[in-house]
């Protein structure tokens, strides 16, 4: 009987595999209904602008999620990368070196985190809690006692446009998409998430995958740091402060299983990033204050996690 029921619902099951896409389409529809004629190319550009940085960091973070871990220090890492890039620009006046510095800092943070995780054999989550504290302090050190550091707006004005930011997102997404879906690294990441013991017995190196995943995330963090400066060339103590949480929420909204594994998909990052930006706009359009907005998003987040993990609740704890 159960089999008959399952067969009956097999078509529906295929549809529900795309539930995060339906959610995104629903949000687009509500936004359209709410805003109507006031939607312009400019306002659409704003939504892309707000989603790009979250989407880039979340795309890299999918690698960590895919083997059942998560990193809460990504926002602070992005802030550090952005600040170093500002300092680099102010010393060299070179946009290229600024971008390079941001990526190098992002990758360096990733390498340090992964090596510590491997050497100390600590759960990634626990390590990133410590890193969050260290990186937040580093932000204050880089500020050097000032309330903000900045570069001239004119220096990056040429890059402050939607096509350039979309180009960066698409390039990074394609790189990650290829690695995640068509290389051994991606397959092994998902295998580790699906069954760590079987993966280990099959010769999959947890250490190698962890280091590679963090390097890939580091590239995303570096790009996000660079884009953060382009977006707002004056950085302070709270720069990118909400990014870490936004990335987590985006990945969950995008349909990524918290336990990782075979059902992990790189598209969750982009779908989720655009979903939370649209959700934010929809809630604002309904007259929610920012405080109510945060509460609504938090409740929705909890509900999505609750429903999505009913079957494998035991697997979602950090391992």
């Amino acid at each position: 009987m159960v089999e008959r029921f399952t067969n009956k619902f097999s078509g529906l099951k295929r549809i529900t595999n795309y539930s995060s896409w339906f959610g995104l389409i629903a949000l687009i529809s509500i936004y359209y209904i709410q805003m109507g004629e006031s939607i312009t190319a400019y306002s659409m550009g704003i939504i892309i602008e707000q989603a790009v940085i979250v989407a880039i960091v979340a795309t890299g973070a999918i690698f960590i999620f895919s083997f059942g871990q998560f990193d809460i220090s990504l926002g602070a890492a992005t802030a550090v990368a952005a600040m170093v890039s500002v300092i680099t620009y102010n010393r060299t006046e070179s946009i290229f070196l600024m971008l390079l510095a941001s990526i190098l800092v992002g990758v360096s943070i990733g390498v340090i985190e992964s090596i510590l995780a491997v050497l100390l054999n600590l759960p990634v989550f626990v390590l990133t809690v410590a890193m969050l504290s260290i990186l937040s302090s580093l932000v204050r050190v880089l500020l050097g006692g000032q309330s903000s550091i900045s570069i001239p707006s004119d220096a990056v004005a040429a890059f402050d446009n939607v096509p350039f930011k979309l180009f960066i997102l698409i390039c990074y997404f394609l790189l990650c998409f290829f690695i995640f879906n068509y290389t051994k690294v991606g397959r092994e990441s998902k295998f580790l998430g699906a069954n760590p013991i079987a993966a280990k017995q099959s010769g999959v190196s947890n250490k190698k995958i962890t280091i590679i995943a963090f390097i890939l995330v580091g590239i995303g963090v570096g790009l996000a740091g660079f884009l953060t400066v382009i977006r707002a060339p004056m950085l302070g103590q709270t720069t990118a402060a909400s990014l870490g949480l936004d990335v987590l929420v985006a990945i969950v909204f995008g349909g990524m299983p918290l336990s990782g594994g075979a059902r992990s998909k790189i598209s969750a990052a982009v779908v989720g990033a655009f979903s939370i930006v649209l959700l934010n706009q929809v809630l604002l359009s309904f007259g929610f204050s920012s405080g109510q907005n945060q509460i609504a998003k938090a409740i929705l987040f909890l509900f999505v996690v609750f429903v999505a993990t009913i079957n494998y609740r035991k697997k979602i704890l950090p391992r």
Binding site: T16, S19, M35, I46, S153, A232, P233, M234, V307
Partner: protein, 406 residues
Amino acid sequence: MNKCLNKIGLLVFSLLLIGLLAACNGDSDPQTNGVDNGANEEQDQGPTQKIGVQIYDATDSELIAFRRYYQDYIEDNYNVEFLFSDSLDTAEAERTSTENFINQGVAAIISFSDSDRMSVIQMTEDAGVYYAIGAGTLSDEQLDMLSDNEYFVGSIGPSLAEEEEVGYDMAKHYIEQGYTNFLLYAGGYPFVDMHLMRTHGMIRALEEVGVTYNAREDGQIGTFESDEYTINTVYGFPDDSGAFFGTVAERVNEPGLEVILTAGLGVEFFGTALAQSGQDIRMGTVASFEDAYYEGFSAGQVDYLAGKFSSSIGPIFAAVYNAINGDMEVVRNNGNPFRIDQGYWIATNVDEFNEMYEMSNSTENPAYTKELLDMVIKSENPDTDYDNFESFVQSYSFDEITNLQD
């Protein structure tokens, strides 16, 4: 099968969420939810115009007073709805707030935030949204750059020269009374322009009576030399370590201290130390006519305040209201955006303070009432022009506004 059912649950929840949001729609629209005020019902001016207000600190009591004036008085008397931002402490937050306001269809933004103002002004021009500076000023260079921006309305606020004068007057007030032992709090000197200028004003007043000021090469507040006067300094803001308040307490308890002069945040940063010192110390500060200073004056901690009043942001609303009504020429200074100075109310004793405090905090009869604002709003007074507007803004003193009301 369970996984399939879970996903169905997710889908159902999404639909429920949509329904819930749709249900909320009716509550969010002041025109349809039955809570709109009588004044709006009487007006037949089309849809309510949304105006975004950007604030640097949602918990700042001065900004809370500003918010109360806009939401409890202006919204009741004009066909507008104010949307307030969160605390905008970075350029990134300021930009996101601007984007959100534009997407919510605001007709104008009044800003009390200045993290990356020129970029925001550029964004609002691109989006066709009017922008006005609610408190603050622009440099000559910035104003020149914005001369062709048809969506930049202008700025009202103390000029940097006015800030310097406020610091000078405050220090001179105590020097003339014969006090010789001072503690100067320089706030965000040299990074915060208004603190820098107020402190420079205090230094100028002291130099006039023979005090030698030795500036530091690193730009931080320097030291003072005088046979007759004793001057100590504190600068900066509190941090997590608590060191700031330790320094404040140490300085306040220096023997012989008579007067604390602060470039801002007097009661907030010195109130506790003053209360604990038990000494008869005077305090002059630049802040606003708000509850903390009512307590400060009542307790005898503060006896000089150069302060903003809550409806001081009325004229900038009038300018923005003209702009969104299509009467931009009323607020064009020879075709250019305006920059008009608006100074502070000065209270030098508790009676003066109480009188000003009462008017500042009234939402029934604020300093800038509808009757006064209508004088410079074209749709209410067709004869008004830019000259009227400019002189109206410049008549900001307590006595001048009281006379206008009479």
